[in-house]
């Protein structure tokens, strides 16, 4: 451990500083967006027919009469104490709301990234191994199509086909209507909760419901993973150590998976971490289509009624998740690549 070294500690400290600056910028950004909005937050709170005194009172209570920089300091203090205010729509603290809906989205996104990574990595390897032959072209078109589809529309069409027409999968929501409320909530992750409660009927219903939105999200995120896998793989295939592996008598497949793939694994982990963040974007749209009671739906429904406390907190949280994922992918790189040790 001693050889962790000053240089590495320095690098980590530098990175920590960068993150702090980015985080600070994030806060400025959300603060500014929150203030320029034309909806009057006081009016939204007190209602249209409140008296002038009530209005003034709330106005001062919220600190809107103070200079901007003071308001910003208050905002910082609130954020530091995890006080994000109350949602106008639900009347509950925003953070509580978000923590309540977040597991649904994480469940969906995790399921989706499993599909997306499996699909993307195998398609990328397939394309690289068959460079400039027909599998490469097919993969290219398939992944670009995934990248090009408006996911909210594909979601609807998929519902029309697989749910309304064939009835192969569950429709909208996380499970069939009549199961709602039957599973004791422990983790918030329905698949885990229902499995723990031994409610296999509900578990099956949940899988049935998650499979379609997750597959679509996964497919759309696989485009990026495919492209990167292909290019990483092409870099490796021409390396001399691949020849060594072939000389040893390994088959083409063994060479690819044991040697070439081993060398891109680290890069892939970082790519998948970034793709996971990008999934959140698709989740906002797909949750609307599938009536998925998650973070995305919470964000959009609050957007439409101008509940800015809720919206800005959502944006802030997405930003923090993004920064964390970036950091995580960086860290994974350091941990898994022997050359950086």
């Amino acid at each position: 451990m001693a050889y962790l070294g000053r240089r590495r500690l320095g690098a980590i400290a530098g990175q920590g500083g960068t993150i702090l600056v980015t985080l600070f910028g994030l806060l400025i950004l959300t603060f500014v967006i929150g203030r320029v909005m034309p909806v009057d937050p006081v009016r939204a709170m007190v209602g249209e027919d409140a008296t002038r005194e009530v209005y003034e009172h709330v106005y001062q209570q919220l600190g809107f009469d103070r200079p901007m920089w003071q308001q910003f300091l208050y905002y910082l203090k609130d954020v530091a104490t995890f006080n994000f205010g109350t949602s106008i729509r639900t009347g509950k603290p925003v953070l509580e709301d978000i923590l309540y809906v977040l597991p649904a989205t994480i469940e969906l996104a995790t399921f989706a990234i499993l599909i997306g990574a499996t699909l993307g990595v195998s398609m990328g390897v397939l394309a690289a191994v068959n460079k400039d032959r027909w599998p490469d072209h097919v993969v290219r078109v398939l992944s670009l199509a995934g990248h090009s589809m408006p996911i909210f529309w594909t979601g609807m069409i998929a519902l029309l086909i697989f749910y309304a027409h064939f009835g192969w999968v569950g429709g909208s929501g996380r499970m069939d209507q009549f199961y709602i409320g039957l599973v004791p909530e422990q983790t918030g992750f329905l698949l885990i909760d229902s499995a723990m409660a031994g409610e296999w009927e509900i578990f099956r219903s949940a899988v049935n419901h998650i499979i379609l939105p997750a597959a679509l999200l996964g497919y759309s995120s696989s485009a990026y993973i495919t492209r990167m896998t292909r290019s990483f793989m092409l870099d490796q295939i021409n390396q001399e150590y691949i020849t060594t592996a072939r000389v040893k008598g390994l088959s083409n497949r063994q060479t690819i998976w044991r040697h070439a793939f081993g060398n891109i694994r680290v890069q892939l982990v970082t790519i998948v971490a970034l793709a996971y963040g990008a999934l959140l974007e698709g989740a906002v749209l797909i949750e609307t289509v599938f009536a998925w009671p998650g973070f995305g739906q919470y964000l959009t429904s609050n957007l439409l009624i101008g509940d800015m406390n809720a919206v800005m907190t959502c944006v802030l949280i997405v930003g923090v998740i993004f920064i964390t994922l970036n950091l995580l992918s960086d860290l994974l790189y350091r941990v898994f690549d022997p050359r950086t040790r």
């Binding site: 020849t243 060594t244 592996a245 072939r246 000389v247 040893k248 008598g249 050359r339």
Partner: protein
């Protein structure tokens, strides 16, 4: 000093190799036979010498290989299926590549890479393969095999890396080893040492060796016979001891361009390259 080359393990007749999408073949009408001896293939870069080595292992997916005959221990290398080749490569014929910096997998421990070569062709417990690897590391004169076993390629020196490579390729006791410029990436000081190790092992185990090199002196000292290649053709084939009697003008040019200790101090002659040497020549063995 070696077995008689009368019982050839490899015989090649009129081998031509054409990379797809290139105007002219990289190798034309190369013929030679090899017994349990050490054959040197010498030539300048681009003369097709490495291509020959890789073609023998069928490692050129983008090239058309044609030959009247290319047989190795009774196996027809031209017609062998890819599955058959998997039993040839590594087990009976292997190849030492040029630069251990690139030819070893950067994220696997050196020892595991050697062990993998053994396990690919021998069904045995991992422990046994590991023991054999350690023995082999000792045989290539690595002093602390246990430690080196667990090192990553970027943690070993070039000379050490090449010894690991030799260990990996000789562990399965192949009948033929192709050494493709095995020492040109190494420091001059460790070259002889590595070559010595390779030479000793090849002699001990009675392995046929094809040494591909651009270094005439090296080939002269470590090989029994020498093929001289120019522009994809063998221009001359002769015993290493008779190298000074080479007839072909290109071979003579190569020899004349070598500096010699105790030789004259005048300017060394510049190597001539005449277009007619690139014309197809009658196959001669």
């Amino acid at each position: 000093m070696t077995d008689h080359p009368s019982d050839p393990i490899l015989s090649v007749e009129n081998l031509s190799i054409h990379y797809r999408g290139t105007p002219r073949p990289a190798v034309r009408n190369v013929s030679f036979t090899l017994g349990r001896e050490r054959l040197g293939i010498v030539g300048e870069s681009g003369s097709g010498k490495s291509t020959v080595g890789r073609a023998l292992l069928r490692l050129l997916p983008t090239a058309e290989i044609t030959a009247d005959r290319m047989s190795f221990k009774g196996i027809d290398l031209l017609r062998a299926s890819e599955k058959d080749m998997l039993h040839v490569r590594g087990a009976q014929m292997s190849m030492i590549l040029q630069d251990p910096k690139f030819s070893l997998n950067p994220i696997q421990r050196c020892g595991d890479q050697i062990t993998e070569a053994y396990l690919t062709h021998n069904k045995c417990p991992k422990r046994e393969a590991r023991a054999r690897t350690l023995d082999m590391l000792e045989a290539v004169q690595i002093r602390d095999p246990e430690r080196v076993y667990g090192l990553y390629p970027h943690e070993v020196s070039g000379g050490m890396g090449q010894r690991i490579m030799i260990a990996m390729m000789l562990l399965t006791n192949p009948s033929l080893v192709i050494a493709d410029e095995p020492t040109s990436a190494l420091d001059v000081t460790v070259r002889l040492q590595v070559l010595g190790i390779l030479d000793a092992l090849v002699r001990d185990k009675g392995i046929g060796l094809i040494m591909i090199s651009h270094d005439l002196n090296l080939v002269r000292n470590f090989c029994d016979r020498v093929l001289i290649m120019y522009a994809g053709q063998v221009v001359e084939s002769l015993k290493a001891s008779e190298l000074d009697n080479a007839q072909h003008p290109y071979s003579r040019g190569l020899l004349a361009a070598q500096p010699r200790i105790g030789g004259g101090r005048g300017t060394l002659p510049v190597l001539q390259r005449r277009p007619e040497w690139s014309e197809p020549v009658e196959a001669s063995s």
